[in-house]
């Protein structure tokens, strides 16, 4: 894993000098310096014996699902508006973590969303997308 990361570093470092050629010296100078340093660091990381990986047990699947849910949330955030998309996101993720809750899931989601809307939308005046519900 470490090795893969270091390789990615190398590639990044390799790409950047090429970038520097097409650019005036000014803006490229500092990135080139960084790329060189990063290349060096990656080299050190490759040469060094890798540290023992932390033993992990847990639920990687959950993590992946949440990542997916977040992606969905982002896509729907403006389209459906803050209220609808947040209720959807919260209920699906709460349902995922606390399977036994049933009817309490949407309740929590709706209460939380309203609280957030009240606090940020109205009290602090941060504009949140209204989306489908529109007409705010």
């Amino acid at each position: 894993m470490l090795l893969a990361l270091a390789a990615a570093f190398w590639r990044g470092a390799y790409r950047m000098p090429a970038y520097g050629i097409t650019d005036p010296v000014g803006p490229a100078g500092f990135p080139i310096l960084l790329a060189g340093a990063l290349g060096l660091t990656a080299g050190v990381l490759i040469v060094r014996p890798r540290a023992e990986e932390r033993a992990q047990r847990g639920r990687p699947l959950h993590m992946v699902i949440v990542f997916g849910l977040l992606t969905g949330y982002i896509l729907l955030f403006e389209r459906l508006g803050f209220l609808l998309s947040t209720v959807l996101f919260l209920s699906s993720s709460i349902a995922l973590f606390a399977p036994g809750w049933r009817w309490r899931v949407p309740l929590f989601a709706i209460v939380l969303t309203s609280l957030l809307q009240l606090l940020f939308g109205y009290a602090l005046g941060i504009s949140l997308p209204s989306g489908l519900l529109g007409g705010k």
Binding site: M1, L2, L5, F9, D23, P24, G26, P27, G29, F30, P31, L34, A37, L38, T41, A42, V44, L45, R48, A51, R54, Q56, R57, G58, R59, P60, H62, M63, V66, F67, L70, T71, Y73, I74, F77, E78, F82, T86, F89, L90, S93, I94, F97, A98, W101, F108, L112, T113, L116, F120, L124, G125, I126, S127, L128, P129
Partner: protein, 501 residues
Amino acid sequence: METLDHLLYGLTIVLEPANLGFLLLGTVLGTLVGVLPGIGPQGAIALLLPLTYGMHPASTLIFLAGLYNGAMYGGSTTSILLNVPGESASVITCLDGYEMTRQGRAGPALVIAAVGSFIAGTLAVGGLTLIGPSLASIALRFGPAEYFSLMLLGLATTAGMVGRSVAKSAAAALLGLMFATVGVDMSSGVPRYSLGLPALLDGIDFLVLTLGLFAVSEVLVSLEEARILTQGRVRVGRLWLSLRDFLASLGAILRGGVIGFVIGVLPGAGPIIASFLSYSVEKQLSRHPERFGKGEIRGVAAPESANNAAATGALVPLLALGIPGSGTAALMLGALLMAGVRPGPLLFAQHPDVAWGLIASLYLGNLMLLALNIPLVGVFIRILHVPLAVMLPAILALSFIGVYSVNRSVFDLGLMLIFGGLGYYLRKHDYPLASLVLAFVLGGLMEQNFRRALMISGGDYTIFVRSGLSAAMLAASVAFLVLPFLVKRLRSLKPREEGQA
């Protein structure tokens, strides 16, 4: 005498009812969010930053000072009650703190943490008051070359002290510097690394990066590791501290305060090192070292005092030089920049209301923290019982609001998710996020000074070593990066023992 006048001036600013309200709000919110499981002080500050939009800079600062104090303190509560350190600087508090809880002495442990933080914090603010302005006046003579070297030194010491591997810290810092170069180059107008995306031309927003790295990735990690807290009732015992306990701890608190402040002022991982060091000092000074780790009250008092003092100490370079001394201080710097205040030597001269208002609010904030924490411990414990199933999604929704509020841009949300993924990966592989954020915040300034220095010298790189100060700082930077490596080589025979950083 002049200092005292300034301080009084600062106090009059903080004592305005509105500002006092902000300080209280910041302290309470900071502590609450700091107590939340699965989110440390850095995440807490990042989550609450959007609240500062539209505030007057001085009020923002005062609010932030409360937030900072509160969040740093909040971490210790979970260490003591649940054996879950809210942040790495509280790791060592778990040893004796949780042990005290198991012995039914959670009350005294929490009180001594609050009292110790208060005394040491106040001491440290005193130090800040004395040192800050004079450091600032020295820094006024700095040229671009000195500044560049100083920032490099800050990054190098951080890399040398945080985390397990210097190379990894350095890599994280370099990543941060690279993220800082994204966007249109200030002096030439050339877009850099924007990948052809117009949304990236303005660069990566500070909030997007920090919320992704801290809030989102923390949630992801706690989900994956199924870090569900054991939700047994916590018995606190009486919230009371006997005079004997207090006197026994007083020495530890004072020593912790001094150690913490001195280490905090040095750039790098102040609070963590300070808490570990003060703990081992106490253990060595104690006539009963065997009691440490078995519920010794000094084992709570020392590190808690030290990490609080160090948190304040870290503000010295932030205010006087514009260079944060720790990851959390880097967040403060980001917040100040968002509020349109650039900390640095000129701050004391140009915005005395901001600088002294902040210092005065730290004094008052410590007092508030003490007054609030003891009666509110019951509330904090109840918060710990909020199920993670509700907490984690709520944290995510909060980060969405925070990021969206910056530019009203869905693109930023996506970017935050990407940083969340990156943060997750980096956490899993022990790359210190603090280095990355510190570098990201400093990146722009560092490049500016680097280029300005070379402009002055006409492209001659020896400008960085021509002044003794700059050369010394560069040499120290190199030493910080290389020394740990050599030390490790020498010690390679015996396995290193160290805590999680």
